[in-house]
């Protein structure tokens, strides 16, 4: 009895320490991550003017959302977002898995290590840096400058007749975005599958080899089922990214000539808000996006928990 009482007292004292530790982190999260939520909801329903603030600006009901419905840029942005994001999700799953399977067959240690070291590299660079590199690398050239590396190479090899403006034409922009995103991330995305591959029990391979299974059969019947749980998990978690086409990347690579194929919800929110100063309209788009994204992420967490027992907290 006495021991229990003592333990309870210690626990209460500990709890007080825990609350104190959490005070500052929660305070900062509250100000800069929680307050913008109600502020955004307020802004979306009023004609927000920075001089008047959140509470003095005029309340306008659903006017901003009505304006959105007839805004010419909203539907193309939604369509581009979905196309780019879904293509990215698929490619960022398939290519790293395929690459992991291929790399897993390499038995030369130094080669494997060198490949990993080099392919991880672009992941750590910001899209500003990579845009600086890619804009030159993919340039078709102009009267003032010569074509970039890729166009020069492709023309010299006779694959194309004249330089392609990868980042400047609506025919190629989306593919360029998807491919360059895969290029940046595939090395890093491969890690998780490689880790899962090394976790497969080697005796399974030995047993199947005795039974006369070849490499291909082993891949189908042992390797793929072995990494299936992790593939299911990464697929499910990707659902939450359907409205994220990659602001950092597109903002740094697009230009007015490719708005028709490259403008996404996030870049539209930016232009409406910070360039056109239509703060409330921008907040309304942001609010809608947040609601849909939040729902999708919740669904994906639920599925991940059911399928793989994955829990974030």
């Amino acid at each position: 009895m006495k021991a229990k009482k003592k333990r309870n007292m210690a626990r209460r004292r500990d709890s007080r320490y825990y609350h104190a530790m959490l005070f500052l982190p929660v305070l900062f999260l509250f100000i800069y991550h929680f307050l913008p939520i109600p502020a955004g909801i307020l802004m979306a329903f009023e004609n927000f003017q920075p001089g008047k603030g959140f509470f003095e600006s005029k309340f306008v009901g659903f006017k901003n959302f009505e304006k959105l419905l007839i805004h010419p840029d909203i539907l193309p942005a939604l369509r581009n977002t979905l196309i780019i994001a879904i293509e990215k999700i698929i490619c960022n799953l398939v290519i790293p898995i395929a690459f992991a399977l291929l790399l897993n067959e390499v038995k030369v240690k130094w080669f494997k290590r060198a490949v990993q070291t080099i392919t991880y590299l672009p992941y750590f660079m910001s899209w500003v840096i990579l845009a600086g590199i890619l804009i030159k690398f993919l340039s078709p050239g102009s009267s003032a400058s010569s074509p970039g590396f890729l166009n020069t190479l492709l023309v010299n090899m006779g694959i194309i007749d004249e330089p392609v403006y990868f980042l400047g034409s609506n025919q190629t922009f989306q593919q360029t975005i998807v491919i360059s995103d895969v290029w940046k991330n595939f090395g890093y995305n491969t890690i998780i599958y490689l880790a899962a591959l090394t976790g497969i029990d080697p005796t399974l391979y030995e047993a199947s080899a005795v039974d006369g299974a070849g490499r291909w059969k082993q891949t189908i019947h042992i390797t793929l089922p072995g990494i299936a749980p992790i593939i299911a998990l990464t697929t499910v978690l990707a659902i939450g990214k359907v409205l994220n086409a990659g602001f950092d990347q597109i903002f740094n690579l697009y230009n007015p000539a490719v708005y028709a194929s490259g403008d996404i919800i996030d870049t539209l929110v930016y232009r409406l808000g910070l360039i056109n100063k239509q703060f409330s309209l921008s907040a309304a788009v942001g609010l809608l996006k947040s609601i849909v994204s939040c729902t999708l992420v919740l669904i994906s967490y639920k599925l991940a928990d059911k399928l793989a027992g994955y829990r974030v907290w």
Partner: protein
């Protein structure tokens, strides 16, 4: 060991595919490096591919004398030092109590609900901007530090690591009358070095690479961190040479926009290269920690 013919064909094919993908990752970076060391004449004539042509250091000499580059470098160093320290303190303070079970810390569920809420739901760009403006952070270094002072993903990574620490370790300290703060600093932190290293690198990379906050929360370009400055230079193609006097122009005949921008891009990735071996080691452990175990 005998290798079958089919296996040999596969191995050759495999090496070619992997080799091609690997080379594709390094070629654009080598290309920019080659530009930065080449003369402008060679660049204009399109003679530069992967190896510098008419090797020159003039682009780097120009960058050395470019005060805007160094001003923004100073801002970046300041934000990295302040930002990473604050990130670390706050995320350790948050991760430790949250690693306790609900039995030990009954209020845990409310904190978790709050964290999940701010993690899932974002207020959006404009509301966040006005909150930052309201708290008088515009044009100060704090606008790049305080809004993301608590990196929630890192909190989760560290919290999961703390959970794996055996309870017996803690019990002996409790018997000695240690309070939770002492237990955290004397027992948990010393054995969590790899995880702390991981989250430190997360913060380091995030602060080094961030450009958007610097861009929108600064009205004056002298407050830009390096990445924001490079963004305006490379992407919005603001010319660095515009404000140059004639003497400097004449002294730098071998410099043009391409090799000069390339030199600045390259200098900005050198620090990344320096910490790269650590990144490789700790980022991978962080990744599997954060997403497999959950």
């Amino acid at each position: 060991m005998k290798i079958s013919r089919g296996r040999l064909v596969f191995n050759i094919f495999n090496t070619i595919v992997i080799g091609f993908l690997t080379i594709s990752c390094i070629v654009p970076i080598l290309n920019i490096l080659a530009y930065s060391f080449s003369s402008s004449q060679a660049i204009i004539e399109n003679r530069v591919t992967l190896i510098p042509v008419d090797f020159t250091l003039q682009a780097y000499e120009f960058v050395m004398s470019n005060s805007r580059f160094w001003t923004s470098m100073a801002v970046t160093l300041k934000r990295v030092i302040l930002g990473v320290s604050i990130n670390l303190i706050l995320l350790i303070l948050a991760a430790y109590p949250l690693s306790k079970s609900e039995k030990m810390f009954p209020a845990r569920k409310y904190y978790v609900a709050f964290m999940l809420c701010v993690m899932l739901f974002s207020g959006g760009m404009m509301p966040t901007y006005f909150i930052v403006a309201r708290t008088n952070l515009i044009d100060t270094i704090w606008s790049m530090i305080l809004p993301d002072a608590v990196p929630i993903f890192s909190v989760i990574v560290l919290m999961n690591f703390f959970r794996g620490v055996p309870e017996e370790l803690e019990e002996s300290a409790v018997l000695d009358g240690a309070n939770p703060l002492q237990i955290l600093t004397r027992i948990y932190l010393p054995i969590s070095k790899p995880s702390v290293a991981t989250v430190t690198l997360f913060s380091l990379i995030t602060h080094w690479n961030s450009w958007f906050d610097g861009l929108i929360y600064s009205n004056h370009t002298e407050n830009y961190p390096l990445q924001s400055y490079l963004q305006t230079l490379v992407v919005s193609s603001t010319s660095t040479m515009e404000n140059m006097d004639v003497d400097t122009m004449l002294a730098l005949r071998n410099v043009n926009e391409t090799n000069m921008q390339s030199a600045q891009i390259f200098i900005s990735i050198v620090p990344l290269m320096v910490v790269y071996p650590f990144l490789q080691r700790y980022f991978t452990s962080g990744l599997t920690l954060g997403s497999v175990k959950g």
